[in-house]
Amino acid sequence: MEKLEFRFPAQPATPAAGAALCGVVGSGNLEILIRPGDEADTCVVSVKTSARGFGRIWEAVIAEFAARHAAGGTRIAINDMGATPAVVSLRLGQALGEYTGGVQ
């Protein structure tokens, strides 16, 4: 298992729920839990992944997510069982959608 931590600037999110969970820790899948963070314009992400050595890809995927979405003021925790970057992007969008009460 590898543990990764990222912080990215992002536009503040408007939460509709106290927390949102998306996905399952199954093969090729991951779960994402979004909770309120301490800084309104920062998205803090902690990842636990079974696949070692993919830190730079995680960084790229999450940076792209933070740049595209209003995901500031959040603390995102991820448990991963080898999801591909495309699945990670999809789930991040899904989880944020649930957290802000938008499209799922």
Partner: protein, 304 residues
Amino acid sequence: MNAPVANKLVLRRSYFEASARARVAAVLDAGSFREFLPPEASEPSPHLAVLDIPGAFDDGVIVGSASLGGRPVLVIAQEGQFMGGAVGEIHGAKIVGLLRRAVQDKPAAVIFMADSGGVRLHEANAGLIAISEIMRAVLDTRAAGVPVIALVGGSCGAFGGMGIVSRLCSAIVMSEEGRLALSGPEVIETVAGVEEFDSKDRALVWRVTGGKHRYLTGDCAELVEDDAASFRDGAIALLAGWQEPAPASSTLRAEQARLTERRQRFAGLRDGLDVWQALGVAEPRQIPLMDRDSLVALKKGLPA
């Protein structure tokens, strides 16, 4: 387009393929579920962390309260996609806690959506103890007059300790896709050899553990389609007028005698096909091809 046909196609939602959270949302009354220890409040498994394996926030099981057909129920739903739904220490403690709450609160029922290969071997004794505590808690819940209804239709079925737990429940609702047994097919093959049991033969696996077999042998009370709405209807139908019997040693002795007789009757039979023939099914080979309604009708016509 013909609207009713289109609706029918859209409305069917596979229970087998759904996640535990999707099952909870689809089986219980819409919007009624309140989770105890939701993911943000629950603890992932410390044992998996020690082994350097990512855990799940809810440790692979969802517990809470809801209503089913307007009646209050407590709910357990195992997530088969996380470690095969296996029971670890926290997973088990959440189930036991929920069942103890049922003894206290006396809901109309506990709905137990089982989807598990049994003990989580990574957690060794903690997992084994958890399973034995669940067994005790299921019996305590039933003794308090609260029926525990197991729904078995997930990809992991109910095997090992969870096979026993399911049979300790008041009744089981199963789909053809569901499987229920003690030792899993691969365990049997590993221990006794491929001549004893070929776990790669999926048709054989379903003929000896699948929902249709369990329905014909009376191990599950209701056979339903692989559809969340059918599981819901099956559970509601079972609960209507259900009176949880008070535990009595005479009932246990009668059940023991029935099982002993059954074991003798089917001893030496190698395949579900042989068992169905012995049960009086004229064309056993047709059973795997039959739809749910035809099978229910066929069972009604079998000799008692």
